[in-house]
Subunit: 188 residues, 2 copies
DNA sequence: GCATGACTAGACCAATCGGTCTAGTCTCGT
DNA sequence: ACGAGACTAGACCGATTGGTCTAGTCATGC
């Protein structure tokens, strides 16, 4: 599969993976270029602004990837809570398979990058797309729009936080318990 | 105040601030040394392992700082929910005052650092200290230990996630709404 | 069959990276 | 008074950083 990918796509995919693992500043162009098997000239042909452009493209790619996981999780769900739970478990599974280290691809890639507004705005946009996607599933599954909006935002906040804790502990259970405290597992 | 600080403390404090703003790899030693007004020799005298040692010390310092905020918030609280709410609002206030950009000092400093186990373990330890501190306040305020433990962890997960979202949006309201979805603002 | 633009290839660059090392200063105990 | 160790000071180092630039390859239209 990798062999048929265009130079541009190989660059984006490998960059996305490396940025997710070690952050924007934690990965050098040389390493990205080497793992992608692409010479430096090609990078600056496809991304005239270099590393920053590549990071945004990588974040976008990762975002689309994650949206597919969201749709998979909610596609087979009978109600919102089941969809959300499936999503958390899917992400936990990915986390386990990745060796208990991968965090949110967006915060890794765009937050530790240059603190310019372009990166920050792009991160905000992607988070909103994710929240909107889950909200749409909520509405489709019968939730009132306002309720769907707050639940979706709460779910993503929980996922972000749990992702961090799971990473620190190298243990996916915080991710798996996100539905419990977003929806409540026991009476308050 | 700054003038009376020891070289070591000046290094730690300035490093903590810079790491929190731009992450471990995002800040060079030169910049830390310049803002702290400390020559390179002193750094390697106080921290023989250089940047990595300094980052751990900075994270520890930031952790103690945050623990003080936790104790302040819960010290005056009549019940757990009020303490937690005060904590979230205090952090939101700090976030606002910082220009809507500061994130969690630990994830900034230790997560984008060298992906070695020392950093990761230290991050996990500090998170656990925070969770334990809030749990203790919960127990003191009458919660059953098990309930205090899960609530505390949920609170910190919510704070972590909300911190991220607040940063992306440059808006502290996610931080202020953490209590709502940790304790529930409306019936499920 | 040849000109053209898209793309690849990598040598090369100044700047910066984290880190080492030696020299010098300051403050003690004696 | 002086020796010792803690600490400061910054020159210096090789490696690596992101980025530029020129040369070359390749497919396509004419």
């Amino acid at each position: 599969m990798t062999t048929t990918l265009s130079t541009r796509d190989r660059l984006i995919i490998h960059a996305a993976q490396l940025f997710q693992q070690r952050g924007y500043h934690g990965v050098g162009l040389t390493e990205i270029l080497e793992t992608a098997g692409v010479p430096k000239g090609s990078l600056y042909h496809h991304f005239p602004n270099g590393k920053a452009d590549l990071a945004v493209a990588a974040a976008d790619w990762a975002s689309v990837d994650l949206l597919r996981i969201v749709d998979d999780a909610f596609g087979e769900a009978v109600d919102f809570r089941h969809g959300a739970t499936t999503l958390c478990f899917k992400l936990a599974k990915l986390f386990d398979l990745s060796g208990h280290w991968l965090g949110c691809p967006i915060s890794s890639t765009l937050f530790e990058g240059p603190a310019n507004d372009l990166f920050r705005t792009e991160a905000a946009r992607i988070f909103d797309v994710w929240i909107e996607a889950v909200k749409a599933h909520g509405v489709r599954l019968g939730l009132p729009p306002a309720k769907a909006a707050t639940s979706s935002e709460a779910l993503w906040i929980g996922l972000q936080g749990a992702w961090t804790l799971s990473r620190a502990r190298r243990d996916s259970s915080p991710l798996r318990h996100v539905p419990d405290f977003v929806f409540g597992s026991d009476p308050q």
